[in-house]
Amino acid sequence: MLFGYPLEVWTTQLFIGLVNGCILILVAQGLSIVFGLMGIINFAHGIFYMLGAYVGWLTVQLTGNFWLSLLVAPAVVGGVGVFVEIGVLRRIYGTKNANFAGVLVTYGLAIMIPDVVRMIFGRPGKPFAVPKLLTGSLFTLGATEIGGYRVFIIAITAALLPLLWLLLNRTNLGMVIRAGTSDNTMVQLLGINVARTWTTTYALGAALAAFAGVITAPLVAVAPEMGGLILIECFIVTVVGGMGSFVGPIAGGLLIGEVLALTGMVYDVFADVVIYLLMAVVLLVRPRGLFGQEGVSEE
């Protein structure tokens, strides 16, 4: 017993927190990279997550192959990201108050796109089956049977993050992104095609969110509203963890995932208040977040 709850309950909640944390990490990484490079708080990021789930669902409906959807969804939604960046965001770069305008246009998209999805797919959510290979429980943790699928989520996140790190730290694209995060003007002066880098980065963030959307889908019903919910949680993750750093969203994601799971154990609604309070406290005490780079988040 610990604080009135049996240890088995604790371990179960901790495990659920870890799974949720993985999803949050994948979505928040994209949010953080886009903010770091472009200075835009991307309210449209949640739609990419939701669209990913829908494209995944459609792929499974058409082909019956879950694994294929893991490739198709990021590809298609990455394409949507390219479209949004070129068609909408590019018009506001360099204008006065581009950061404000970025919040506003992406907010508009966040209102609009879920209704487009409702128009096409209908209002009710779509059930999304766990792939056959991963149904059934893998082992027992405390008193709970742990499904293979949840373990898969943890494993694939653990596999993806090193790849993302390599992309950001060992490739030319990554170098430009990191350089642009610390000084955009300088990068432009060096004669690098910033426009293409920004498009690529935005698409990358969208694809990551879409991937997270597909792998979450079997745990929840696919619904047009799912993007809005995770968006706010991911704001909190990036703020707590630190914008524009690689470790930040990981630390923030795990922390928020666990905090949600553990406070949810005590009282459902309470969990939501706690993460908002946590965000407020972090912003006040350490505005750049736990692992944020100095200077990036000062304004």
Binding site: M112, D115, P287, E299
Partner: protein, 626 residues
């Protein structure tokens, strides 16, 4: 023809628009379809319009994006609702007033916390803090949770306005609310025209410059935030009275998004815009949603289009189009008259500048900056006006300024020179409170100012111009100077008319004349040429009537002719104000300064008269190596 008619219409509208609106409001129940449904809708448009108007105090007038306004409307709606439910005999007016105060109190709780951050971080913080109120409403029993707060007593409002009562409830309610909203609108307009309103606009135009003029912009934003909270609270209270119900959605953060959309639809920075935006939104919600099941597509898409293509909103765009139609008849078009005015230098002849009789704002009675070298200091003539002791600034491993001991006597004109990267601008930033030094002390008039913020330093009588032009680009040339003068008179007066501060305007006009920018009086400062902007830059600093003036490369980017004029100008003001000048043009430096300090790698390399510095072997080495 339209070119002639439109400005007339525009001017009539600017003058009488509000009263036309009032007449329309008064007549609406008689003219429109006389149905309770339409009246209820119109009432809602007014209430949401008031909310957007309150929101725009912050967004359009102070340049602050908040995503936490749901808290104000939410809290005030609950306060009003709970009072009406629990104290059945309470007058409605009192419950509404309490609700408005609830909004104010909420703003005073959220504001000081959120305003520790700026920009998008401020927005996120307001969002997070406002959601806490949402969850309180969700969990607390008396507010009814997700069901909302119902069971409000049927409000007949018979006592509203001294027992004034019309036969039918919707009509009574409509008039009561229309009158309240209209009054609130007049008050808000008055605030926008007050000296404080001007300070809000200056903060929006260029917050750092406003600080350097002596305005505590965080407090300015806090007051604006509180006012916004008060009027949002009033809207929330009226919403409760209108709906006779308090839905939980009032308090959810999407309400903040809704008010943002309404404000931008109508147009920020306008008085009628918020109401137009509110009407468009209510129309979309109530009519479009009947025709189109997926009406939010339309809302979202039109919002994106407005942000991209009509950033001024509906009213703002209309106003601009109308004014543009008559641009050729605009009052100030000196360039088109064929008089060549390539720069500011033409109207400002050297004779006028150098002449002692030139009308100077610095001569005005009551000015702070008068002491001449001979009379200065009085009983503490030995104390330097400004002194730094061991002043040091390190950025990580780089020591930009390294233990600088520096003294300036009253009345002196000191030049600080040094190769690029010598730490001159960093030194200025520390003196003016922009950068807190790593070590060392700064004394100004014998007072330790090391830890003071920029606005406090400015208030003590120190002003500066910037190396990179730093003016209020969106404000008129006159307003740039007026706001600087006003900083010495008043900041937080909300009720007077800013233009009625005659002395402030007169001093600004005199500075305008001194700068030779009289012909550009009503131009936006951003439209001036580079040289003119550099000049205005110095003018803003001078207009705060400093005892001590720091000029950071005033001639940067100027033509030789302009440079010469600037040197003359510096010489003119030098007798009245102590000056420290950072400058690269050696001719200017040698020509105007009494003494010169040479910085190199953050350290004082040499100090002395121009002649001494010219002969100094160390200085020669540093500059020849360059």
């Amino acid at each position: 023809m339209t070119g002639r008619a439109l400005p007339v219409i525009a001017r009539l509208f600017e003058r009488w628009g509000l009263w036309v609106a009032a007449a329309l409001l008064l007549a609406a129940p008689l003219v429109a379809d006389y149905t309770p449904f339409y009246l209820a809708l119109l009432t809602e448009v007014l209430v949401f319009g008031l909310f957007a108007l309150a929101y725009d105090i912050l967004l359009g007038h102070t340049g602050v994006l908040s995503l936490g306004h749901s808290a104000f409307v939410g809290v005030s709606a609950y306060v009003t609702g709970l009072l009406l439910v629990n104290l059945r005999s309470i007058p409605v007016e009192l419950a509404v007033l309490a609700g408005a105060l609830g909004g104010l109190v909420t703003a005073l709780l959220v504001g000081p916390l959120a305003l520790r951050k700026r920009g998008v971080y401020f927005a996120m913080l307001t969002l997070a803090l406002s959601q806490i109120f949402y969850f309180i409403a969700l969990m607390w029993k008396p507010t009814g949770g997700t069901d909302g707060l119902g069971n409000l007593p049927r409000l007949f409002l018979s006592e509203v306005f001294g027992g004034f009562r019309l036969s039918k409830r919707p009509v009574t309610l409509y008039y009561a609310i229309a009158a309240t909203v209209f009054l609130a609108m007049l008050v808000v307009r008055r605030i926008h025209r007050s000296p404080f309103g001007r300070v809000m606009r200056a903060t929006k135009a260029n917050e750092r410059r406003a600080q350097a003029c002596g305005y505590d912009t965080r407090r300015v934003k806090l007051v604006a935030f509180s006012l916004s909270g008060l009027f949002s609270g009033l809207a929330g209270a009226l919403l409760t009275v209108t709906l006779e119900f308090v839905p939980i959605e009032n308090t959810h953060w999407t309400m903040s998004g809704t008010v943002l959309i309404m404000t931008l639809f109508g147009g920020t920075g306008t008085l009628l815009g918020p109401f137009v935006g509110s009407a468009v939104f209510v129309w979309m919600r109530d009519f479009l949603s009947k025709k189109l099941e997926y009406w939010e597509v339309f809302v979202g898409a039109s919002f994106v289009l407005i942000v991209l293509f009509l950033p001024e909103g509906i009213v703002g765009t209309l106003r601009r189009l109308v004014w543009m139609g008559g641009l050729e008849r605009a009052p100030h078009a000196p360039q088109s008259l064929g008089v060549p005015q390539p720069s500011w230098s033409t109207p400002r002849s050297p004779a006028r500048l150098g002449g002692v009789t030139a009308p100077s704002p610095l001569d005005a009675p009551g000015d702070l900056a008068k002491p001449s070298p001979s009379t200065a200091g009085g009983n503490n003539a030995d104390v330097p006006l400004l002194e730094s002791r061991g002043l040091t600034m390190r950025f990580g491993g780089l020591t930009a300024v390294d233990g600088v001991d520096f003294q300036v006597r009253r009345g002196e004109l000191r030049a600080v020179i040094g190769p690029n990267g010598a730490g001159k601008t960093t030194f200025f930033n520390m003196l003016t409170g922009v950068l807190p030094p790593t070590a060392g002390r700064i004394l100004f008039k014998g007072q330790d100012i090391t830890a003071l913020p920029p606005h406090a330093v400015s208030r003590l009588g120190m002003a500066r111009s910037y190396q990179v032009t730093n003016i209020f680009a969106d404000l008129t040339v006159l307003e740039n100077l007026r706001i600087a003068v006003q900083s010495r008179v008043t900041t937080f007066s909300l009720w007077r008319n800013a233009d009625a501060l005659r002395e402030v305007t007169e001093r600004a006009e005199r500075m305008l004349a001194l700068l030779g920018l009289g012909a550009k009086r009503d131009f936006p400062a951003g439209a001036l040429s580079h040289g003119e902007q550099r000049y205005l830059e110095i003018g803003i600093a001078l207009a705060t009537e400093p005892e001590f003036l720091l000029l950071d490369e005033p001639t940067a980017g100027m033509s030789p002719e302009e440079t010469k004029q600037t040197a003359d100008f510096i010489r003119t003001i030098a007798g009245r104000v102590t000056i420290v000048l950072v400058e690269h043009d050696m001719e200017v430096v040698m020509g105007v300064s009494d003494r010169i300090t040479v910085l190199n790698y953050g350290k004082v390399l040499a100090e002395g008269s121009p002649a001494e510095i010219r002969e100094n072997p160390d200085v020669r080495r540093v500059y020849l190596r360059d």
